[in-house]
Symmetry: C2
Subunit: 228 residues, 2 copies
């Protein structure tokens, strides 16, 4: 498939590398290609600049946001949640029309220090905001409740754990579930919560997720819904 990854941060890189390894044609979108390629900023985990990462993943093409998604079947929103609406506006509704968009972002607001709060929250969610703003696109909230390494490699955890899916369109969710299966998610690990309003529930997992990260001393964990 032709896939666009919005965002060149840690999540975007992990996602793009995985999608390439699965044989997909991947473009990565950023605000300013030259700036992104020239940035000295090193990834906190891999200690790589984006330029170094891209050298090792050179089959990933780079586009600006306003060129992004034109010819893609599917987009992954790997931007930071507080920037997502702004980035989507740069991509534009023409490029987004009719597209399935996996929304991995959480609207974490660090402006009042740590721990971050969520904005929107409770009676709204980023997933719903995106769906309302782009009614001709198919937003599917998923993968936003775990560390990026677990997202693309659920086998990292040998015990049972779940990925949640929220979205209004059944065929879009079906497409997303097939992509999740390519990442290694088994059917019984995928929990379809219903329409996009259920994204409130998964985004609101972030506060406990962040506290668990501190308590457990590792980000390699995930939620499991125990039913028996």
């Amino acid at each position: 498939m032709k896939i666009t990854v919005l965002g060149t941060g840690m999540v975007g890189r992990v996602m793009a590398a995985k999608l390439i390894s699965l044989g997909h044609q991947v473009e990565m979108a950023t605000r300013n290609i030259e700036h992104t390629l020239g940035s000295e900023q090193k990834n906190g985990m891999t200690k790589q600049t984006f330029g170094e990462w891209h050298k090792a993943n050179s089959t990933v093409s780079l586009v600006t946001f306003n060129e992004a998604g034109k010819n893609s079947d599917v987009l992954f929103n790997c931007t930071s949640g507080m920037a997502s609406l702004q980035v989507f506006a740069l991509v534009g509704k023409d490029n987004l029309r009719g597209k399935v968009i996996l929304d991995l972002a959480n609207p974490l607001d660090f402006s009042n220090g740590m721990p971050p709060s969520l904005n929107p929250v409770n009676t709204d969610s980023l997933g719903e905001q995106l769906q309302r703003t782009y009614p001709d696109s198919f937003i599917v909230k998923t993968l936003n409740t775990m560390n990026m390494n677990v997202m693309v490699n659920p086998g990292l955890l040998t015990g049972e754990h779940h990925v949640f899916v929220s979205g209004n369109d059944e065929s879009a969710k079906q497409k997303v579930k097939l992509l999740l299966a390519e990442f290694g998610w088994k059917p019984n690990q995928i929990l379809d919560l219903g329409d996009i309003t259920t994204a409130r529930g998964t985004e609101m997992l972030l506060p406990i997720w962040l506290r668990l990260w501190g308590t457990l001393g590792t980000a390699t964990f995930n939620f499991h819904i125990q039913q028996s």
Copy 2:
């Protein structure tokens, strides 16, 4: 131990019955004893009125809120979350001073219809509100992330699952963990998240909990944090 259960609803009844069965001396507190005993309202699950329930659990003594907790070691907040602050005000700071209080309530606000929202949320929690209002009491948020039958019988689910604990005072939390152990919670099922601000995270599990209840068609499930 001498234990006060605040609230005579479904959660309060399940909790009081369990505590009696464990040999504790239990009083249950309500606004108006005559009204509660005479109420025709039937429990949605058991189809029992409170009077019928109390006949079968007659060792549970009944007190009004303003008498509650005077001689108790521990209190359980089993009131509805939107009423908790009001009920605590009736009990009064003298009765609450120095007491360990398990806060099982979630501040679910149904005033705007379904699904309910949380109030407070995100930058505050009911647990924190109670702790701030009663600084001489020891609020421990726990058991609020699961169905009442799982609370008192974790063995209902044979697979792995967790109960969370949030509170500022280590010895109060230790007391709570011993009570949880009496209910059947094993040490590796009890996840201490830290201070009372972590109650935000567990209260914010409610939106996904309510959606899962709908999706799974049962309330007999619980969260497990998969770490390996």
